[in-house]
Each structure stands twice: as C-alpha cells, then as structure tokens.
Amino acid sequence: MKLHEYQSKALLRECGVVVPDGHVASTADEARACAAKLFDAGSARVAVKAQVHAGGRGKGGGIKLAASAEEAGELAAAMLGSQLVTPQTGPDGVAVNKVYIEAGADIANELYVALTLDRGRGCPAVIASAEGGMDIEEVAARNPDAILREHCEPGWGLRPFQATRLAYRLGLSGKAARGAAATMMKLAKAYGDLDASLAEINPLVITGDDGVIALDAKFDIDDNALYRHPELAALRDSSEEEPLEMEAATHSLSYVALDGTVGCMVNGAGLAMGTMDEISNAGGFPANFLDVGGGASVERVANAFRILMKGERVSAVLINIFGGIVRCDRVANGVIEALKTVAVDVPIVVRLQGTNAKEGREILRESDREFIVAETLHEAAEKAVAAAGGGTA
C-alpha cells in the first residue's frame, strides 16, 4: 500500500525526522490559507505539491513554487481536479485530489536515502546516494557506483556505525554527517516499526547551516502486515487504487487489468502468469491476470466472471484450472452454475487438467451453454486467441 507524501511526512515527523512545515489542502481556498500561515511564520516561498502516488511529479508540473499565498492558491486551483501526467503515470495521468502546501527549504545539498528490501540478501538495506532529487533508478543505470548500500542484518538491524559510515561516504562531515546518520537511523526504525517495503527520502536536504531536512518522502507498506497497523491501513487512498483490483480483493481474488482481449481465469498465480504467456505465444493478448485461488466455488467463479468481464476489450475467456485438491468436475459445475448468475456474452474456452479432468470436460460438453473445450494449455490458448478474433490487440 502506497502512502502520499503528506502522510509519509507526518510519520517521519513522529519518528523525529525533521520535515518542513506543511499542510494538506483539498481546495484552493484551503491551500491559500495554509500558504498564508507559512508565510506568516516566515517562509520566503512555499511549494504547492500534487499528492498523487506516481513519482516524477516535478517533471509533470506537480510541484510549483509560490511567492505569495495568493499565488499558492492559484497554483492549487490549477492542480486540484486536474489529471497529472508524469513519467510514471499512463498518458491519461492521475487525478489530483489533494495538494500539500509546504514551507520552502534552504538547500545546500541534496541526497537520496531510502530503506528497501534487498531480496538477494534477504534483508533490508539502506540505499543512499549523493545524487539526491533525481530518479534513483536513472542514477543506478547511469552510474552504479553512485549508489551506496548498508544492510540491516536479521537480528541486528542498522547499527549506528553503518549510518555514520554512509554519511562519510556521502561526503558529509561534522554536524551534517551526524544529522544525516541520525536521520538514517530514524528512517530505518520507522521502516521496521511500520512494516514498510519502501521508506524513501528524496531529496534529503542539507541546509546552508548543516541542518538535515526531508524534503520529499514516500512510504510503501507491506500489505501482509497491515493487520497489525490499523492506523496505517486507514490511510489508504482508494481514489488512487484500480477499482476492479479493489473489488477483486474484497472477494479474495487476485486481479490485474491488462489491455488485451482474452480474459483469463486461472487457479494459482504462477499458472495464471503462465497462461498469459501461453496466450502471448499463440499470438494473442491477455486482458487480465486473475488468480481465482484454490477453492473455485460457484461464488468465487461468479465473482471472477463478473470482474473480468468488466475488461472493456474482452472478446473471449480462457478458463485454465489444474485440479489438485480441487476436483475438475466440481469446477465444471461451478462454472455452469456461475454462468446462470453472470452474463458472459463471449466465447469461453475451458481447459481442465488434473483430478477428474475428464469428468469435468464431459460435464461442460453436455451442458446447455456452449464451451470450447481444450485438453492442453497450448491448445486452449490457440483456441482462445482464435475466438477472440486472432492476434489483433
């Protein structure tokens, strides 16, 4: 689950990381009032920042500076309700529903600092770079040596000497080094305490008087750990989530919308990906990833149909079930029952394999509804692609 900048900064503030004063606003009037407060408190200028999950906001015009409260209000008015297009959004962009109004900072130096999981090592790592304020993946691609790492080992976490070592390797010294090291320790603690999968400060700013300030911040939280952080779960911004994916999740289905024409319903995530690959090999394009899970009850299958048929371009459905503990004859019956409650007006290709596959196929062949029955996955994919009108994507 992704958090917005303003939410992430509130968390950082609680952990003792210094962040500029700022307030979130949903209307231009609120934005103007927030900005006025900051100017009253002595800010020379304020930033107006679109609160969207996509990165690269600066490049898309989602971060602007204002020299007066009036100007801040105008900038907010222009941003709020608009679709912000950044290098990380699609061409349609994402709707801006909130802006963050923040005091300007005195920037002497911009660093990158983040905690993330190093999957190869199986533990979190601090990633740091002296090239702050940039897209870290670009930095990594262009100059891998500019990316510094320290690992948080199981049982030990990040030790102070590691944070200090990073600060010196970043070229800092004195007060700035101590401040940056302390910030990294706090960030690492927050990462662990909040079950984050990413805790990023970019840029971490060194001010003219060697202060250390988090100028932008981003937390991603491990969905599997939300059960122990109800306060974080409450921060979810559903306007940023894919509605179909959310609906699927409420039915314990794992669904991802894609832009092809063959709707897929598969049991198991790996097999679901494999089915998509097989469709692609057959010259077609999958319309979605959908793991219907282990049970494949009538209700689950019905929900799966309902969701995948919302894919606008779906012109055929491929059901691929490997019956293990689940028996294929039960799945076949489930599909037939589900189709009584959901209208599916495109051809349905079914491939059943494993326990009672033969019986399952028999049930489908004998039903009133017409199914295109296949034995192998390869055959199923070819038939589905043909049924969807060939390889036209």
Binding site: L117, R119, G120, G122, C123, P124, I136, E137, A140, A141, E153, P154, G155, G192, D195, S197, D222, D223, N224, A225, Y227, R228, S254, V256, L258, V266, N267, G268, A269, G270, L271, A272, M273, G274, T275, M276, D277, E278, I279, S280, N281, F285, P286, F289, D291, F322, G323, G324, I325, Q353, G354, T355, T376, L377, H378
Partner: protein
C-alpha cells in the same frame, strides 16, 4: 534417492488442529507420509485422528517422537514464531505453507534458521514431495510419479502442471520442491540445484521461476559453473507489466529489475534449456533426457 525428505522422514505438523492443518495432514498420511506428531498449544495430550500425539510445544514433540521435519500451517500472525520454535527445537527441515506472512517477519526468521542450522522451505509454498516416499505439503500426490527429474518452483499449480507433464512423459520425479512465492524465502533455486547435483537418482532438473527478485539469475550463475545436470527452465510472467504485483507477493518487476526476459537470457547463457511456454516443459525434458 531424493533430497530433503524420504521414507525415513519423521514429520510433525504445527497447527495440526486448524482446518488447513487437519485436511492436509490427513492427505499426507493417506499418501503414506510418516506423521509422528502434531503441535497446537493448549491441545497437548490429545490425539489427532486417534493416532498422532499432539503436544503443546515443538520441543516436547521432538523429544518424544524424534520428529526431524516440521510442516507448518500456522496463520500469518504466528507463522514466524512457529518457524523459529521449530528451528529452536532442532528440527532439520521446516516447511512453511502459510501465505501472507509479513516480509520483515521472514527476514528475521530466515536469519534465525540460518543461525540454528535449520533449513526452511517457504513460506507461501506447496511444500516438498518425494514421490512414492513422502509428501510434506499440499500438492496433489497422485499427479506425481517416482522417477528421474528434480523439480524446483516458486509456484503451486504451475508446478503441478509441469509435474503432470513429466509423469505423462514417463520421466517421473525424484523430489519436487515448491520454494514459495514470497520476496524472502528460506531456500532458493540455487540451494535446491546444489542438493540435486548430489542426488544420484536425479538426471535432470526442471526449474520454474517467475518475475521478481534475482533468484533465477543467481541460479543461472551457479549453473554456468559447470553444473553437472541438464536444467530445463521456464519463467512465468513474460507478459506481466512492470511495477505490478502478479498474485505472489514476490512476483513484481520493481525498478525495471526482475523481468522474465532478463532471467530467461541469464539461464540460456548459462546453458539451461529455456522453454517459452509452460506446456513445453515435459516435451523438452523428454528431448533432453531421452525416453
């Protein structure tokens, strides 16, 4: 021969009285697996299915029954602690089926198991089966057949698919390991490859990877060092979009890293037989090994 488990393995089941634990323990026992103990705190002294003694703690179960492998069906909030308890009690192998364990819990668990010398398989995996000897997991036993090919996979049903093809091809399997679909797991592709290389009966390895992480690349680097067995590989998720989690917590192309194309290239360069489609696994294995 086989790796990890065989007919001498003495299995204990943590969470044996839960609904998952009960069902799959019964399935494993039907397959012939030697389940010697169960653990559910508070149910110590009872019997599972009138035969298997239940204990309050793993240490007690191990002391009384000499169990050496633990199969874990404990819900996510308690799964990490259950694995640590197994490791502390000295079981040789812990197999954690549980899906949905917080990642940072697993970071600790994997470190703890390493320090104790306990091998962990999983979490979020179907388990391990040595056909004809011992099934320690949730896979459908009947698709498997004693044979010549070792199978390693990050997924569940996709593995059964591959296994089924190997069985139909008459090749059968030595041992099949589901290593799990999470970002942090106890046993990697490479770990399994190492073990298969030492197994006399394994003549080839089928390795099923997917997008996300770098486990397949690490396996490829290991294969490139003169790996003695032919490896047939498939990577799921060639058509998956970047930045999106495909079901498994670990199946995500993050920061442009962990694509299927990269992994396939690394494996191909290492000399593995990489197939582009999951339906080609059995045929490729047959081609490589001969009938």
């Amino acid at each position: 021969m086989s790796i990890f488990v065989d007919s001498d393995s003495r299995i204990l089941v943590q969470g044996i009285t839960g609904s998952e634990g009960t069902f799959h323990t019964q399935q494993c026992r039907e397959y012939g697996t030697n389940v010697v103990a169960g653990v559910t705190p508070g149910k110590g002294g009872m019997l599972f299915d009138d035969e298997v003694p239940i204990f309050n703690t793993v240490r007690e179960a191990v002391a009384e029954t000499n169990a050496d492998v633990s199969l874990i069906f404990v819900p996510p909030p308690f799964a990490a602690d259950a694995v640590m308890e197994a490791a502390d009690a000295g079981v040789r192998l812990a197999i954690c089926i549980t899906e949905g364990v917080p990642t940072l819990d697993m970071v600790d668990v994997v470190g703890y198991c390493k320090a104790r010398g306990t091998r962990l398989i999983g979490p979020n995996c179907p388990g391990v089966i040595t056909p004809g000897q011992c099934k320690v997991g949730i896979m459908p036993g009947f698709v498997h057949q004693e044979g010549r090919v070792g199978v390693i996979s990050r997924s569940g049903t996709l593995t059964y698919e591959a296994v089924d093809q190997l069985t139909r091809a008459g090749l059968g399997q030595t041992t099949c390991i589901g290593i799990g679909g999470d970002p942090v797991i106890g046993t990697t592709h490479k770990d399994c490859l190492e073990r298969f290389a030492e197994d006399e009966k394994t003549e080839a390895v089928v390795m099923i990877g997917e997008i996300g992480g770098s486990g397949e690349e690490e396996a490829a680097a290991y294969i490139a060092e003169d790996y003695p067995l032919p490896v047939i590989a498939f990577i799921a998720g060639q058509t998956a979009p970047p930045g999106t989690r495909m079901g498994h917590a670990g199946a995500i192309i993050a920061g442009g890293k962990g694509t299927a194309a990269e992994k396939m290239k690394a494996l191909r360069d290492a000399g593995a037989h990489v197939v582009g489609s999951p339906s080609e696994i059995g045929a490729k294995a047959l081609e490589v090994l001969g009938a």
